[in-house]
């Protein structure tokens, strides 16, 4: 290259090899995460492979032994100059009013490689500027240089080919089909990769100039995948979030929820100070603003006035690892209650999540591997994982076998899709594993056998993406399934947890029976370092979310802390959540907004800082710990969650947090008391800020630990009111056989956009939550006398919701599917906690 010898990898494209060795070749269409197309010709360089030098697009030419390349010869420079002049022929040069100005590859490369003057005096082509191609994304076709990045992304990466080149020659333009918007969960990525200002997204349009932005590397917080992001702000306001390219995680891509979710943090309705009210109904039920001293003393007073087992904490997935640890310390180590649960009856057994052998995203996507998905639709719940899996399946020969309650975004790519109807999941998984391990009947032609054959062929190292399936099935279906699945030889698990930093919460001990570092409460010995930093430990094993709410409904909980949780909308049983919230004597909400639960029942609301407003770390589903950075200050006097916990600790037990005055100090204490957290040192975090620190996958409850040993965690002391498992689902009759004539088995899973609190406060995503729809299999339409597309009421023994009837062949016959939290139609109104199956009927409205 330019006279020097350069080593390259076999098959590597010339443009990439040159870049690695320090020579940047200008480009527009080439993108290292997508296939090369050679659209723009900007990367022309002179190449000699033995027949003399000639111009070649370096993004399309793989390197070869002895190839000679001249990147800066007269011919190369003239070619690049010419291409730029050509690209600018129809470009409007409206840089002064263009959002891309200042960070525009077209602008930059024209300055560096292009002509200073144009010779084009004719009329440029004109289009109406800009057109909305989706709710959020705008397209200015005059600026477009037809590089095919956005269209390639839509087709190749997202699998949503909803934008396409239309027309030919100088009439070519990017557009959507008539009335069919670019409604992709990933549309924002096209804005990020467009090399000109042709694509812009509503949240950032005309908000700032790039040179006014400052940026920090952080971690996305809306789901548990922990995509790496760059948070950009100007004048103490976050204005944009971009995907950072972490090879191990998100490859630079983000879902629109991760990208635009920051809008909620800028909402005028954010809590900016603590609030108190004396009554939740009757007189004095309006919140009034209070000082921190008064509010915290109110909470401390309530905690002092009661006994530990009458205190409970629900939630915590929003918090950083450090804040989670402080809240675990406050609840378990200072107050002394074990009634702590970061999940709301909608997740997996924490012992299971911590104990199963772990897989990384990379393991799941290893070329030629096999992934068994037993859980929810990754496209809806972990959209960036969906992108990685989709890439692995389409490009790297990864095989997918899915056991899901209904068709998913990956079903059309799956080798086998098994759809157990509600109540039969665990049995089906057991049969599948029997067949795959040769311990059951085999040789027949059933779908299970075909799927089992794929698993057998995969041999060792199947990666199981394991999550909670339908939320209308009890949580222990997941436990039972996992127990069966761990019989697969060397299977490893990637837990498909739903909410934010849930893995961090479990690692920090925000679950009944656990303390930080995957340790069982009962195993903590007197000499353990935990005993030194924690004033006390709970005397008895605590309650999970379901039991907490039951106890609260009975009047047995005096202080209920909602740590960023909204049981009314997120707990699986709306009625129980309601009764629990009303039954608890004092409800304390620690949150960014007054959510529905707090508005119903909270007496104290503590204003917390958001994810871009405090420093800390995040643990994703793989156990990867990465930095979250403070970019802006919280509104008003809102405080970081760890500070709130630390203050309460001090009020209850002076000296219990001495020295814990920063996230770093908290990390240090955590690393000291927890083996599992020991690798998280400041050095390790700064050494690889992009990929973070991957925690080892097994701990005290790990492979040799509690879960594996006994099937279920064995608790020495008698569990107080622990939710008893429902009758072993594996042993049940098929509920389909007992189904009343007009009855359906309810399936409910989450969608990416719903009526959750954060999304309600995102102007650009608010309208995207799909309207409530009751989906049944087309074969079932005869069973009811109601036309498709009519308004119906879905009724269970426990409640009803209103929806529109639709058919969907992805729903198994006999089942009815509704989304978890459609606006105005919360599915948890239909469900009672711990029932095996929920039978619903449909009535015309």
């Amino acid at each position: 290259m330019d006279g020097a010898a350069v080593e390259a990898r076999p098959g590597e494209m010339l443009i990439a090899a040159c870049e690695r060795s320090g020579t940047y070749i200008p480009r527009f269409c080439y993108h290292s995460r997508m296939s090369p197309v050679g659209m723009c010709r900007m990367c022309l360089v002179e190449v000699d492979t033995g027949r003399g030098f000639g111009l070649q697009p370096s993004c399309m030419v793989p390197v070869s032994e002895g190839m000679k390349v001249s990147t800066d010869s007269e011919a190369s420079k003239k070619a690049q100059d010419g291409v730029l002049e050509f690209l600018l022929i129809n470009h409007p040069l409206d840089c002064p009013v263009c959002d891309k100005g200042g960070e525009c590859p077209l602008q930059d490369q024209t300055m560096a490689y292009g002509p200073g003057e144009t010779r084009f005096v004719e009329e440029k082509r004109h289009f109406p500027k800009p057109i909305a191609i989706s709710e959020t994304v705008f397209l200015d076709r005059e600026r477009c240089i037809l590089c095919d990045r956005c269209t390639r992304f839509a087709d190749e990466v997202a699998g949503d080919a909803l934008i396409h080149f239309m027309g030919r020659g100088n009439h070519t333009e990017v557009n959507t089909f008539t009335d069919e918007p670019f409604a992709s969960y990933f549309s924002g990525n096209t804005v990020q990769i467009c090399p000109v200002g042709a694509l812009t997204a509503a949240p950032y349009r005309f908000k700032a100039r790039p040179w006014d932005l400052t940026e920090t590397l952080s971690t996305a917080w809306v789901d548990s995948l922990g995509s790496r992001v760059a948070v950009q702000a100007s004048r103490n306001r976050v204005l944009r979030v971009l995907g950072a390219d972490a090879d191990a995680v998100n490859w630079g891509w983000l879902s629109d929820k991760e990208r635009f979710g920051f809008e909620a943090l800028n909402s005028a309705e954010r809590l900016s100070a603590p609030m108190l009210r004396d009554a939740v109904d009757g007189d004095n039920r309006e919140f009034r603003q209070a000082g921190w001293g008064e509010a915290l003393e109110a909470v401390a007073g309530a905690l002092r006035a009661t006994s530990p087992e009458r205190v409970a904490v629900l939630g915590g997935a929003r918090l950083t690892n450090e804040a989670q640890y402080m809240w675990a310390k406050l609840a378990k180590g200072v107050v002394g209650t074990d009634n702590v649960d970061a999940q709301l009856g909608d997740g997996l057994d924490p012992h299971l999540v911590l104990g199963l052998p772990r897989a990384t995203i990379e393991d799941a996507c290893r070329p030629g591997g096999t992934v068994l998905l037993v859980g929810p639709d990754p496209k809806e719940e972990l959209p960036t994982l969906y992108l990685r899996l989709r890439h692995a399946i389409v490009n790297d020969g990864v095989k997918l076998v899915e056991v899901t309650p209904h068709a998913t975004g990956l079903s059309h790519l799956a080798e086998h899709s098994l759809r157990p109807s509600p109540g039969t999941t665990a049995r089906l998984v057991a049969e599948l594993v029997d067949a795959a391990t040769g311990s059951g009947p085999s040789g027949d032609d059933s779908e299970i056998e075909a799927a089992a054959r794929s698993l057998r062929e995969a041999g060792e190292g199947v990666v199981v993406v394991l999550g909670r399936m339908s939320l209308a099935e009890p949580a222990d279906v997941g436990d039972a399934a996992a127990r069966e699945l761990s019989r697969l030889p060397s299977a490893r698990f990637l837990p498909a947890l739903r909410r934010g930093n849930l893995m961090g919460a479990l690692e920090a001990g925000l679950a009944p029976g656990l303390v930080p570092g995957r340790m069982q409460l009962e195993d903590v010995g007197d000499g353990a370092s935990l005993a030194e930093s924690w004033p006390r430990l709970p005397d008895s094993l605590g309650l999970d979310a379901t039991s907490v709410l039951r106890a609260a409904a009975r009047g047995d909980i005096d202080v209920l802390v909602l740590l960023g949780s909204d049981p009314l909308n997120d707990f699986v049983d709306r009625d129980l959540a309601y009764r629990g919230l009303r039954g608890a004597a004092c409800v304390v909400a620690v949150d960014l907004f007054v959510n529905d639960s707090a508005s119903l029942a909270a007496g104290v609301v503590l204003a917390a800082a958001g994810p871009t407003e405090c420093d800390g770390t995040f643990t994703n589903v793989e156990g990867r710990v990465s930095i979250m950075s403070r970019k802006v200050t919280p509104p008003g006097t809102a405080r970081a969650d760890w500070m709130i916990a630390a203050d309460l600790c001090e009020r209850l037990e002076p000296g219990s947090t001495s020295g814990l005055d920063s996230p770093q100090a908290i990390r240090a204490e955590l690393a000291q008391i927890s083996q599992a957290h020991a690798p998280i040192t400041e050095d390790a975090l700064t050494q690889n800020p992009m990929e973070g620190v991957l925690l080892a996958g097994t701990g005290a409850t790990g492979e040799a630990g509690g879960w594996r040993r006994s099937g279920r965690p064995t608790m020495g002391r008698s569990p107080v009111g622990r939710t008893e498992p429902a009758t072993g689902p594996a042993g049940r009759e098929d509920p389909l056989e007992e189904l009343p004539e007009d009855g359906f088995l309810l399936i409910t899973t989450r969608t990416m956009y719903d009526d959750g609190m954060m999304l309600r406060h995102c102007p650009s995503s608010r309208g995207l939550a799909p309207a409530a729809t009751a989906r049944i299999n087309p074969a079932d339409t005869d069973r009811i006398d109601i036309d498709v597309s009519t308004a119906v009421r879905v009724v269970s023994d426990f409640g009803h919701i209103e929806a529109t009837l639709a058919t969907d062949s992805g729903v198994p016959a006999g089942s009815l599917r509704v989304d978890w939290l459609a606006p105005g139609a919360p599915a948890n109104a239909l469900i009672a906690a711990a029932t095996d199956v929920t039978v619903v009927s449909v009535e015309a409205r």
Binding site: D155, L162, G167, R168, T176, F177, E180
Partner: protein, 204 residues
């Protein structure tokens, strides 16, 4: 309009000719255009469903080809060539005359929906300049007077020219033993029957 029942059946047959459904996209678009005179949104959606492409992909592909129309055109689509040879032989004047006599702009359609006049690039009949096409059927060395006569004949029904959408003859009749193989290449386990037969013939 979406595809008629007869065309649905034909579409299914056409898809069967190809190893992959997507390969049938262009023939199906011809079918849809033959049915409606242009590509309606409904028809493009349906074709997309049939071959497994999004409507945007269908429209994007169709849009590459000038002869696919997205708006209704007249019964007779008149393309007047104004490229170099025709230009030298009066193509411009012919186009002007066509527009004037039919009272339309270039690209416009007469009020009765009979004629649409368009300007065409070289249609590779330079020896017959100036030339035009009516529904892609050639007329060479056309004078303004010839043009008027042609229009009169068409109006009066003395001359008939097939509809513009039916240009592509997508109907085929291929005996099974002459099919080129309709198995996707990666799944093909044996040589197509015709190849086997030819080889058998050669050796026999």
């Amino acid at each position: 309009m979406t595809l008629s029942p007869a065309n649905e059946a034909l579409a299914a047959e056409i898809i069967g000719w190809f190893p992959r459904p997507r390969s049938a996209l262009i023939p199906l678009l011809h079918l849809a255009q033959a049915q409606d005179g242009y590509l309606t949104d409904e028809a493009m959606r349906r074709v997309g469903e049939l071959v497994g492409a999004t409507p945007a992909e269908v429209k994007g592909t169709a849009g590459f080809y000038e002869m696919f129309r997205f708006e209704p055109v007249g019964t007779y689509l008149v393309n007047v060539c104004t490229n170099i040879s025709c230009l030298l032989w009066g193509g411009e004047e012919l186009l002007e005359h066509a527009c004037e006599s039919l009272d339309v702009e270039v690209g416009g359609t007469t009020d009765d929906g009979m004629f649409t006049v368009e300007e065409a690039e070289c249609v590779a009949a330079c020896t017959e300049a100036p030339c035009l096409q009516v529904n892609y059927r050639y007329r060479g060395r056309v004078s303004p007077a010839d043009f008027d006569r042609l229009i009169e004949d068409l109006r009066a029904g003395r001359t008939s020219i097939a509809g513009h959408g039916v240009l592509a003859q997508v109907r085929q009749s291929i005996p099974a033993d002459r099919l080129a193989g309709v198995v996707p290449p990666e799944q093909a386990r044996e040589a197509p029957v015709w190849l086997a037969r030819n080889e058998a013939g050669a050796s026999g």
